[in-house]
């Protein structure tokens, strides 16, 4: 399409010509579009696996007293189904779409860190492989997707399944955090001129907020997984009551991650709906400001309401009341969004394409899931129906009726951009109606089964009146859904080969991704059109009829350095990790004096001084570089590394002394928490030393010769200071508290 008054984006070197390299080019790619497609295809593969698992569950439950699957296999299958669908399907699909479209929608040529992006992707199939590798080691994990302790501990889950589950989730978690850091850095530093935060497309904004949720929530899971695997492999007792540990602590930690996780899966879906509905209603979104700001409110509240997953755990009436109020509060900003979308459609020229049909169905299905969610916020109702099929129905309405419908809407909407061809509308309509019928038949009846008392996660059920018929209906629905997915797959293949050619902007949409060719060229844009409002392509097409307020061009600020932004995001994430380890330490040691007997405050104090001094020397190194004093810069860098090594030597020495006295990680809760906390701090110091060592090497190779500053040095410096701050907190809590 022709672009009036173009502005050229500068910077970002073109990648080498990888598109020429065929299949190998896909493996080595660092192009965000190819990585996005890889995410989507891999997710589709795991979607098929998870779907087959769902069908096996439904076959088993189709009739009462069935023995199609034995109980242990049933446990493994529902655990794998849940884990697969959440970590290997929904999250990577959302990351994949974000990967493909966030740079396009903000007028960038790639993500901020293309190679980190490739790493994040490859961790995903690797994690999936680890999870499924458990099958050949004696059985898949079978403790449910939230692996409640003590069921997930060795005495009750003795196969390697849960260990592989932990390792897989750690790998996937690291991948998700790296992807989220990349999205944050991309949105902050690579927006086209004129694209202020106020004008961001809602999909980009919600993906950005989701990325922040990811860097805050995933580390909580990672820290808990680490403790669980230390329990299982090193015989500690974090979550086992028989060694003084607390099984309920696992639930707290898991849901501190788990509830934000719900919004990690829902917010990008809201973003997709907020793109699709306006375009097919021919109206700008109603109440952009509310939709954007309330997303932040949802994100924040999502961290405060996890205990509503634990009403049945016996936290007491007061806690139940507080969390019931919080949970109902979070429904308000979510509920009002529904009205924003309806108001956008109101009076619009609606085109019911398949994308719009899925988006409209999203509104209906998500409201059903949301309403049953509100019933769960009332603790007494929760006690009645928790762990029944009512719950299963609820979260499938949220995750399938909500997120999956939004993803389908987004795929039908964006497929022409990705491939240059439309998905077939007739196959699409068949896909839509099969999905609607199959989905509602499968899950709506489960509300009734739940209220009648059918427990989830039990491999079969007695022949009670009505149960058999409702379950059979549900199973029939599940197979219709299976058929709908096959129809969708056929549609994908046929449309890719011989679909109608789409052109650059087939839906007459307004955001920047439609300003380039379909599919976009390697560097996305020849020129990015000027951005003066939320709908830059509308402005281009209607130069004299701008129906949206064009606010005064804000001051163009130079964006912050992307490495520094990424490092800050990483530090925030790592803080979450350490907060969990520190809280466990405090929780288990607040009333014991075990630390006083085992630790030597004075010796460690001296090594602490070394570590703190290294922060100072690093600061002096940066100053020397600023003043162009290369010799002093190298000297301070070397001194920093030496001081760091001295600290690590001190830590090693302390560990050896404790080991000599027969004290190790499984001796008591104090030693478990102590070694976990200080061990992970030591690991972080070591990583910092590696980074500083590399910078030292570069300094001696003359890499900093003519520079006044270096973003790599700045980022490594931030990380090093962060590691020191963590140690100050650890030292105060673990050591100094004993002598006060």
């Amino acid at each position: 399409m022709t672009v009036a008054n173009p502005e050229v984006i500068v910077g970002h070197d073109a990648h080498d010509d990888e598109h020429a390299r065929g299949a190998f080019g896909w493996v080595t790619t660092v192009d965000h579009k190819r990585i996005g497609v890889l995410y989507l295809l891999t997710s589709l593969f795991f979607f098929a696996i998870g779907g087959v698992e769902a069908l096996l569950i439904r076959i088993q439950l189709a009739r009462p007293n069935s023995h199609f699957l034995d109980p242990e296999t049933f446990n493994q299958i529902f655990t794998m189904h849940g884990t697969t669908m959440i970590f290997l399907v929904v999250m990577p699909t959302l990351v994949g779409l974000a990967n493909y479209f966030v740079p396009l929608m903000i007028g960038a040529r790639d993500m901020a860190f293309p190679r980190l992006n490739a790493l994040g992707y490859w961790l995903f199939p690797f994690g999936g492989l680890l999870l499924h590798f458990s099958l050949v080691t004696g059985g898949a994990p079978s403790a449910g997707w939230f692996s409640y302790a003590p069921l997930s501990e060795t005495p009750y889950s003795s196969t390697m399944g849960t260990d592989y589950w932990v390792l897989a989730l750690l790998v996937l978690g690291i991948g998700s955090v790296s992807g989220a850091i990349n999205i944050i850095a991309t949105v902050i530093t690579l927006r086209a001129p004129g694209l202020t935060i106020r004008r961001l497309p809602l999909f980009v904004w919600m993906t950005f907020v989701t990325a922040i949720l990811i860097i805050l929530a995933l580390p909580v899971l990672n820290a808990s997984l680490v403790m669980l695997i230390i329990d299982r492999r090193l015989d500690a007792h974090f979550f086992q009551a028989n060694g003084g540990g607390s099984a309920i602590l696992w639930q707290h930690f898991f849901w501190t991650f788990g509830h934000p996780e719900v919004y990690i899966m829902a917010l990008p879906a809201f973003g997709m709906i907020s793109e699709v509905i306006p375009v097919f209603s021919r109206k700008p979104i109603f109440g952009y400001e509310f939709v954007a700001a309330s997303t932040v409110a949802i994100a924040i509240l999502s961290f405060g309401v996890w205990a509503h997953h634990m009403f049945a755990a016996g936290l007491g009436h007061r806690a139940d009341l507080a969390f019931a109020i919080g949970s109902m509060a979070i429904a308000v900003p979510t509920g009002v969004k529904i009205f924003n979308w309806i108001a956008t459609m109101w009076g619009g020229k609606i085109r019911f394409t398949t994308a719009m049909m899925f988006a409209t169905a999203f509104l209906l299905e998500f409201v059903i899931g949301g309403l049953s969610g509100i019933t769960f916020a009332a603790a007494p109702i929760d006690w009645q129906v928790t762990d029944t099929y009512y719950l299963v129905a609820h979260f499938h309405y949220v995750l399938f009726g909500g997120t999956a419908f939004a993803i389908f809407a987004a795929l039908y909407y964006w497929f022409p951009k990705m491939s240059g061809r439309f998905l077939s509308e007739s196959w699409g309509k068949a896909h839509f109606w099969l999905t609607i019928v199959g989905f509602n038949l499968t899950f709506f009846v489960q509300h009734f089964l739940g209220i009648m008392g059918m427990p989830r996660r039990v491999f079969t059920y007695p022949d009670l009146p009505g149960w058999g018929a409702l379950n059979m209906a549900s199973t029939v629905g599940a197979f219709i859904m299976g058929l709908s997915v096959i129809v969708f797959a056929i549609n994908l293949v046929l449309s890719l080969r011989s679909g109608k050619v789409a052109g650059d902007n087939p839906w007459d949409a307004w955001t920047l991704e439609w300003a380039t060719t379909s599919p976009p060229p390697h560097d996305n844009f020849e020129r990015v059109p000027p951005v003066r409002s939320r709908r830059p392509l509308w402005d281009l097409a209607h130069p004299s009829d701008q129906n949206q307020k064009v606010d005064a061009a804000g001051r163009e600020r130079t964006p912050p350095d992307k490495s520094v932004v990424a490092m800050w995001a990483f530090i925030v994430s790592e803080s979450g990790f350490f907060v969990v380890l520190i809280l466990s330490y405090v929780f288990f040691n607040i009333s014991t004096k075990a630390a006083a007997a085992a630790l030597d405050v004075k010796t460690t104090g001296i090594f602490t001084a070394c570590l703190l001094a290294s922060s100072l020397t690093l600061y002096l190194a940066e100053k020397s570089l600023e003043h162009g004093n290369a010799g002093a810069f190298r000297a301070w860098m070397i001194l920093t590394v030496i001081l760091g090594c001295v600290f690590m030597g001190g830590q090693a020495n302390e560990y050896m002394k404790l080991f000599d006295r027969g004290i190790s990680v499984n001796t008591s809760l104090f030693t478990s928490t102590f070694f976990t906390l200080t061990g992970f701090h030591g690991l972080h110091v070591t990583l910092g030393l590696v980074a500083l060592g590399i910078l030292c090497g570069l300094a001696f190779a003359g890499d900093f010769a003519k520079k006044k500053s270096s973003s790599a040095l700045q980022a490594a410096g931030l990380y090093w200071h962060f590691v020191d701050v963590v140690w100050i907190v650890v030292f105060s809590i673990v050591y100094v508290r004993n002598v006060l």
């Binding site: 954007a292 924040i300 809280l583």
Partner: protein, 264 residues
């Protein structure tokens, strides 16, 4: 004693608090007599809440009887009174050369606000404030002053003194996290945070009502206090974040210079 009798009788009848409130109101009215508009309501509300926190049964029970009442008082003095006072001040024109507070200044304000929460729940200080009137006044004063310091970057009368939108969201969110962590620790702590509230000297004769009538054992009392800091306190920060974003989308920052003098 019944709940009704408690609510009617446990008011502080000494003149100190009402006199302070009266002086503050008089001072406000005299100082702003030429520019008196609806925002004076914020100040009246602040004074009323100050009175409720200190002289109502909340204040009475906070003096050594109930940890949860102490926490409620704490939250009013820290999260309600200071922001209301700042809102009651008329908008001021931006200084010609706005002072750049920078990261250190905002960090200091943040530490003041969050530190006030943490410091006054160190065991020694918490106990001292529960039994000694002097320490309690010191606590009240410091909470309001530190609360003003905390809220100033968000609600300062001069827009140029305010922290920019997105760092501001981060500022409030970090405070919410710090508050949540303390709340979690107080709620789930196996040991008592404030032992003075375990066995109060029951001069009023209300303990049977509180312990049996209301069912607030010492453990339950502390849990309730922790939950107050955890959930409602965070809702206040969340509301402030929404207001900050609302301001941003309403374009106040874009036209900061024109906004001076106009009410919110």
């Amino acid at each position: 004693m019944t709940t009704k009798e408690l609510l009617l009788s446990a008011w502080d009848t000494r003149p100190l608090v009402p006199v302070m409130c009266g002086l503050a109101l008089a001072g406000y009215l005299i100082h702003f007599r030429r520019r008196l508009v609806a925002r004076a309501g914020f100040f009246v509300l602040a004074t009323a809440l100050f009175f409720v926190a200190l002289a109502s049964p909340i204040g009475t029970l906070a003096r050594g009887y109930l940890f949860s009442a102490h926490m409620l008082q704490h939250l009013i003095l820290m999260l309600a009174v200071p922001p209301l006072i700042l809102l009651s001040l008329p908008r001021e024109r931006d200084a010609a050369q706005p002072k750049d507070w920078g990261a250190i200044g905002y960090g200091g304000s943040w530490l003041a606000g969050v530190g006030a929460m943490w410091i006054w729940h160190a065991r020694t200080l918490c106990n001292a404030a529960a039994v000694s009137t002097t320490v309690q006044w010191l606590q009240t004063g410091s909470l309001i002053v530190m609360g003003l310091a905390f809220w100033r970057p968000v609600l300062a009368p001069r827009i140029s003194d305010r922290v920019p939108t997105f760092p501001g969201v981060l500022y409030l969110f970090a405070a919410c996290v710090a508050c949540t962590i303390l709340g979690i620790m107080v709620t789930l702590s196996p040991v008592e945070v404030c032992s003075a509230y375990m066995h109060p000297v029951d001069a009023l004769g209300v303990m049977p009502l509180l312990r049996d009538g209301w069912g607030l054992t010492h453990q339950a009392d502390q849990e309730l206090g922790g939950l107050m800091m955890w959930v409602p306190a965070c809702l206040v920060y969340a509301a402030a974040i929404l207001a900050t974003l609302g301001r941003y989308y309403a374009g106040e920052h874009a036209s900061a210079t024109h906004a001076a003098g106009s009410a919110e």
